[in-house]
């Protein structure tokens, strides 16, 4: 659906996006990750045709994003902003018209969307009369109107209370079910684990991680298993050390050992196992680990 091929963007002599290549499939929720200043916003601006790449190409359904394809993309930027002295539904309808809807259709759709985000009674109020959270919901409506096929959301959950986070998530799920592709840029890694199929992580403009979220976590998992048992753990073949961890035990494995061999050894020794899991790092830890590794590499180079 979205193809980003060997894209490069330079500002003066600084390369902010350096040969980035990835694809997002139709109906997928794809995470774009990276520390602050990694080049995510520049990459998004190139996908939305706000900026042009210096080299490489970006295709949407096999065609360049041009004037005609623009309406297929919607973008909720991290920097929120709306026309403050305009009524909420008029702002949303304006975006609808820019996406090619008739004034009548866009106004009807704007009201329907505002109702969906529980702002029906605020639709005729000026934006400046709305709270920050309400304005964020209006902004989400400006992205949703016109049923875009690619929805780019930059930190959509920041500043929202848990009720509104759930509301945003349910709307995302609806859109995904309807076939909308979502490109999600966020620092909330738990949300990436919950809703994203695949992820790309960039650092200093370069790709550092790319693949299914599950694979990324597995790839960066410690060679260890986490066991919960009330019994005393005996010495086990293939286990280098045992670390207590929040009531569980983290068993660090020898390089040649596998989770299966350790599980078998535990069963053979009649240890009553209450839970057994691979010691996968949370995505957040993978993120920190990878960024630190990159920084370490840069440091050693210097």
């Amino acid at each position: 659906m979205l193809q980003v091929r060997e894209v490069v963007k330079r500002y003066d002599d600084r390369t902010v996006v350096d040969h980035v290549t990835f694809e997002v499939d139709a109906g997928e929720v794809f995470a774009l990750l990276g520390p602050n200043g990694a080049g995510k916003t520049t990459l998004i601006r190139m996908i939305t045709d706000i900026l042009r790449p210096d080299s490489g190409e970006i295709l949407l359904d096999g065609r360049k994003v041009d004037s005609e394809r623009r309406h297929a993309i919607a973008y909720l930027p991290e920097e929120r902003g709306l026309y403050r002295r305009t009524k909420a539904f008029e702002v949303v309808a304006y975006y609808g018209e820019l996406k090619g809807m008739t004034p009548r259709d866009s106004r009807a759709e704007a009201r329907r969307l505002l109702e969906r985000v529980e702002l029906a009674e605020w639709a005729d109020k000026q934006v400046q009369a709305l709270s920050k959270g309400m304005q964020q919901k209006v902004q989400l409506c400006t992205a949703l109107i016109g049923s875009p096929t690619l929805l780019i959301l930059d930190e959509p959950f920041s500043g929202l209370d848990p009720i509104n986070v759930q509301l945003f998530e349910s709307i995302l799920a609806e859109r995904r079910a309807a076939g909308t592709t979502v490109l999600l840029s966020t620092h909330q890694m738990n949300k990436v684990e919950e809703v994203c199929d695949r992820a790309l992580m960039i650092n200093e403009g370069k790709m550092v991680l790319h693949g299914a979220v599950r694979d990324i976590r597995r790839l960066h998992a410690d060679h260890a298993v986490i066991v919960h048992t009330e019994d005393h753990l005996p010495a086990l073949p293939g286990v280098r050390s045992v670390e207590p961890m929040n009531g569980d035990f983290k068993l660090m494995l020898e390089p040649e050992a596998t989770a299966q061999s350790v599980l078998r050894a535990l069963i053979d020794r009649d240890v009553r196992i209450q839970s057994f899991a691979l010691a996968w790092l949370p995505l957040e830890d993978v993120f920190v680990k990878v960024v630190r590794e990159r920084l370490g590499l840069e440091g050693s180079k210097g």
């Binding site: 004037s67 909720l76 930027p77 820019l98 780019i152």
Partner: protein
């Protein structure tokens, strides 16, 4: 530019409607002409009142005549002051006027006359020395008054002239000597080589028509430009541009804004002109004003090209600055350039075909207003090639400004922080 006209028109419509719905627009629409009308009326009324007061205060004039030339002079001065503030003397309405009478009281001693002036018994004393007829020297003593009126001086001057010749000539000649060129008809050569009468109304029209046309043009360009500046600065400040520019390209956004807010400027001036014509129709119909269709067509072109030039620059300024305050600091220089010809209006209208007027009408920032002054001036015959060259230069500059500003707009809209330096702006223009 691979632009969508649907999006451009959507932007234009929104810009137009949101601007005209604002209270500030209504204030500009009504407030600006009301302010000018009020100031003009106040100024004219104040000037008339000054004259009235001066003549009313001059109820007695003390005269100490050592020359003997005024021994048989009349003992009163009668002055008539027109209070009609309209321009035309051809009006069928009877002009309003007020008559004043001043008693001329002869004193034998200067000291007693000055004592009466000091005590406020009499307002003025006129001392006519023995050698007055040879030298013209005389002295006038008065209490402090307004420095801006010459009403009393004219009245005294008329009395002196009339009574100097009284007795030597008939009364009618004496009266004429007091006001020798009252009914003068001045004929001046017009553009077609004919002598045309140049009365008060034509003199006013010769000044007002070019001034009015160029002022309207300058104002309409500036109003549209100011709205553009404000609109872009507000959008940048509210950080809406990033999501907006995903839906509409920088070029489409800029073109839509130029169209929508240009229409606001044009409509504003249109309403002012219509309201002005309706309000002052009878007075204007007396004035020798005629607008040639060709001049109107040229004025429209100057509006379009001038607005394109200034509007593009204003949009670019809005894009590179962070807020309205910063934007105004940059924009003021271009506003001054547009109105610079008004500072030089006397020189331009005195010599509408001179080098100053010629070069200012070619220089794009001053071309619109200067050329409209030249075209409106009765003593000018602007060659067609000069109008064409001026329009070509302005149009080309407008397109260049549009192209450059669109590039700066694209980069600058998403830049925040310290306003860029000139080399940075030039780099943006090349890079975008």
């Amino acid at each position: 530019m691979n632009a969508s006209w649907q999006r451009i028109l959507t932007v234009a419509r929104r810009e137009f409607l949101t601007t005209v719905k604002r209270r500030a627009f209504l204030l500009t629409l009504i407030g600006t002409p009301a302010y000018f009308a009020f100031v003009t009326f106040l100024s004219a009324s104040a000037s008339l009142q000054e004259k009235k007061d001066a003549l009313k205060d001059l109820d007695v004039l003390a005269v100490i005549d050592s020359s003997g030339a005024f021994a048989n002079a009349s003992r009163e001065i009668r002055t008539t002051l027109k209070t009609d503030l309209t321009f035309s003397r051809r009006s069928t309405m009877k002009p309003d006027s007020i008559s004043f009478r001043t008693e001329v009281r002869f004193y034998s001693s200067l000291d007693s006359a000055l004592a009466d002036v000091r005590s406020g018994k009499i307002p003025q004393a006129l001392v006519i020395p023995a050698d007055y007829v040879e030298t013209g020297r005389m002295r006038r003593y008065t209490r402090p008054g307004s420095p801006f009126t010459s009403g009393d001086r004219k009245a005294i001057g008329g009395w002196l002239a009339r009574n100097l010749v009284a007795g030597h000539v008939g009364d009618d000649v004496a009266a004429r000597a007091a006001r020798p060129s009252e009914e003068e008809q001045l004929f001046t050569l017009d553009r077609s080589g004919r002598f045309e009468i140049k009365d008060d109304s034509r003199e006013i029209a010769d000044f007002l028509v070019p001034m009015f046309f160029s002022m309207l043009l300058g104002l309409s360009i500036m109003i549209g430009g100011q709205y553009l500046l404000q609109g872009v600065a507000e959008e940048k400040e509210s950080r809406i541009l990033e999501s907006l520019m995903c839906q509409v390209s920088a070029e489409e956004l800029m073109t839509g804004k130029l169209m929508g807010l240009g229409a606001v400027g044009l409509m504003t001036v249109g309403i002012w002109v219509t309201a002005g014509l309706l309000a002052s129709g009878p007075a204007l119909s007396m004035m020798p004003i005629s607008a040639q269709p060709s001049v109107l067509a040229v004025a429209t072109l100057y509006f379009l090209f001038g607005y394109l030039f200034f509007g593009s620059i204003m949009t670019g300024i809005g894009a590179i600055t962070n807020n309205m305050r910063e934007a105004q600091q940059f924009a003021v220089w271009f506003t001054l350039a547009n109105f610079a010809p008004f500072i030089l209006i006397t020189s331009i209208l005195s010599h509408p075909d001179g080098p100053l007027a010629f070069w200012l009408s070619l220089f794009p920032p001053t071309a619109s207003t200067t050329m409209m002054m030249r075209l409106g001036a009765s003593n000018s015959a602007v060659p067609a090639w000069q109008v064409a060259l001026s329009l070509v230069l302005l149009g080309a500059s407008g397109l260049l400004a549009l192209r450059t500003s669109a590039r700066i707009f694209r980069v600058g809209l998403l830049m925040y922080g310290k306003p860029p330096t000139l080399p940075e702006i030039l780099r943006w223009a090349r890079r975008a």
